[in-house]
Amino acid sequence: MEYLLQSILNGILAGCIYALFAMGLTLIYGVLNFVNFAHGELIMWGAYFLYLLMEKPIGLPLFLAFIPALLFTTILGLGTDHFIFRPLRQANRLTLLIASLGLSFLLRNGAQFFWGAEIRTYGFEIRRGMRFWGVSITSNQVAIIIVSVVCVALLYLLFYKSRLGKSMRAVSDSLELSRVVGINSKKTIRFTWVIASILAGLGGILLALDTNLQPGMGLINLVKAFAATLLGGVGNLWGALLGGMVIGLVENLGVLVISPGYKDAIAFGIMILMLLLRPMVLLGSKE
């Protein structure tokens, strides 16, 4: 029983990480209509920015380094938009897709250039998790769950209850028409990048706190996040959360029955199934 409960918790944790990543993906997709493959690298850079600030020679404590790290991630996100995606605003989706793939390589190799390919940690002492009903959970993991839920709630409020959210949705519907009705599309898009970058930075930092830092950390989880996005319906925030949870749980519980060698196959199996069935199974979407 403990065994099952612990697996469920692991599934929820993995799901939260996938969901955090999926929300950023879905946001950019929703507003700018392309899949940003470099989102995983934004995640990774978020974690490495924190590492940079906490290591020598800067050596800030976590609570001081946290906000500047998110700020740097945001600047990086805005920078990628300004220098790469903005000039391609009118280009077709395939061009954007290839550009984001190229950017993903560039950012990943960039991190590898500065920090090398080896695994790093923030250097916190490892602690035993707290135990409830035979299930162990660490404080980092509690933080992951809380942050994910809070992020979804805040994003929901922003998206559906604020003026800015309304303009984001308008730009998402049609860039030209939103301009016609007087929405400042430039400002809206910039704001979208800010939120997506903060989400990426948060996700990356939480993931790295819970596990380790490595240049490939964004990429391997992004593919799962991508599956979550598809499962939950592209552009749908609650769908991203739900999709992430479903994939996290299914792959972690599945491992108990089939060989863990096939762990990834479960997530990708779901993804392919969704692509085939297409009509946004879980929550449905406008498409």
Binding site: E125, N212, S259
Partner: protein, 371 residues
């Protein structure tokens, strides 16, 4: 001018050939396709020194039944292509029945089929690739294969009294090969593998794999892992409060593991291949080396090359100076033979076993394990 040089060269080689034919009457000649130039020539030099030392000793002690050994060195230029050329030359021109093969598994394996086809014995003193001797029955190695680690880990489990263990391994050629050897040996020794858990490289989250491996609270879990994956896993298992004895191979042995996983790796036990420097054979070898070359530092794999010469000399003595004689008697003379690098008994794949040391982590340091 050019013509004169050609003629001179040709006549020189004829003279050289006839001299070697004369020599062939009173020496046993062994081919050596070594890397004397090219990218791995730095190693080749050391191998040659080790071979020369052994030859000198054997000849000084009266050679083989009164006849001296002579090594015919052929430069393999460190490339697979030139390895083939060198081996072919040794077989067709020098007509040696036995060849000391090139270093680097890929170079050796390129030339092995040539020796096999010509029914000439070829021996490797450096190749670690599991498939090294697959070319056929004329190909031998005195260097242990990588996958033998699997046996080392199995022996370790048994010696620690763990008869039922689950095994986790990296899901690639290396991990799978190692796991198969481990399972085979463990079963033979009366142990039982309770579960097999393959996992992918470079993941950040191994919690569920760990839970599955420690289902039923096994006393020990074998984890055939690398440094990075090991660090992530041991850390996560510590956080989840898993209490079991982790058993690992040599790939996880490194200070980086401690740097990444801190106290979570405290008490892990693992194996690593060793050549004991405490045996009388090793001490004698080291003293002889110092006497001949005036230096303490033995070049990498020098010990294996040294053993290779002795085993080959014994095989020639026992089976006669023919490739089939050597091939057959290699098994007999090597059986139970204790060289500088330990027991050199050939297995059915014409490879040798390895001896393993045991490491553990104590107070944040990698140390030799003592019960």
């Amino acid at each position: 001018m050019k013509k004169t040089i050609h003629i001179m060269l040709i006549s020189l080689s004829i003279i050289a050939l006839s001299i070697s034919f004369v020599n062939a009457q009173d020496t046993y000649r062994i081919g050596a396709a070594f890397a004397l130039s090219g990218s791995i020539a730095v190693y080749g030099e050391g191998f040659k020194k080790a071979v020369d030392l052994a030859v000198e000793e054997i000849n000084a002690a009266g050679g083989i039944k009164g006849k001296k050994i002579e090594i015919v060195y052929e430069d393999n230029k460190s490339t697979p292509k030139d390895c083939v050329t060198a081996v072919r030359k040794l077989i067709t021109v020098d007509k040696v029945p036995v060849i000391f093969g090139p270093a680097a598994s890929s170079n050796f394996m390129a030339a092995a089929p040539v020796a096999q086809e010509s029914k000439v014995v070829m021996i490797s003193a450096e190749g670690a690739a599991p498939a090294l001797t697959q070319a056929g029955e004329y190909i031998f190695r005195v260097f242990p294969s990588d996958v033998l680690q699997g046996k080392g880990v199995s022996d370790l489990c048994i010696s620690l009294g763990y008869k039922e263990v689950p095994v986790m391994y990296v899901n690639n050629d290396w991990g799978l090969g190692l796991k198969n050897v481990l399972v085979e040996n463990f079963k033979k020794a009366g142990g039982k593998i309770t579960d097999e858990i393959p996992y992918d490289e470079k993941k950040t989250d191994y919690r569920t794999e760990l839970i599955r491996a420690t289902k039923g609270n096994p006393k020990a879990v074998v984890n055939l892992t690398y440094l990075n994956e090991g660090a992530v896993m041991f850390k996560q298992s510590y956080e989840m409060g898993i209490k079991t004895q982790w058993i690992a191979g040599s790939a996880a042995k490194g200070p980086k593991l401690i740097e990444l996983a801190g106290k979570a790796v405290e008490g892990i036990i693992g194996t690593y291949p060793v050549v004991s420097q405490e045996t009388k054979e090793y001490k004698a070898f080291k003293a002889a080396w110092k006497k001949k070359y005036g230096e303490d530092k033995i070049p990498i794999f020098g010990e294996y090359n040294y053993d290779m010469v002795y085993i080959t000399a014994k095989a020639i003595e026992k089976g006669g100076y023919t490739s089939d004689g050597i091939r057959k008697s290699l098994f007999e003379v090597a059986k139970g033979y204790r060289g500088v690098t330990g027991d050199k008994t050939f297995d059915q794949d014409r490879g040798v076993g390895a001896e393993y040391g045991v490491w553990t982590i104590k107070d944040g340091q990698i140390v030799d394990y003592k019960k």
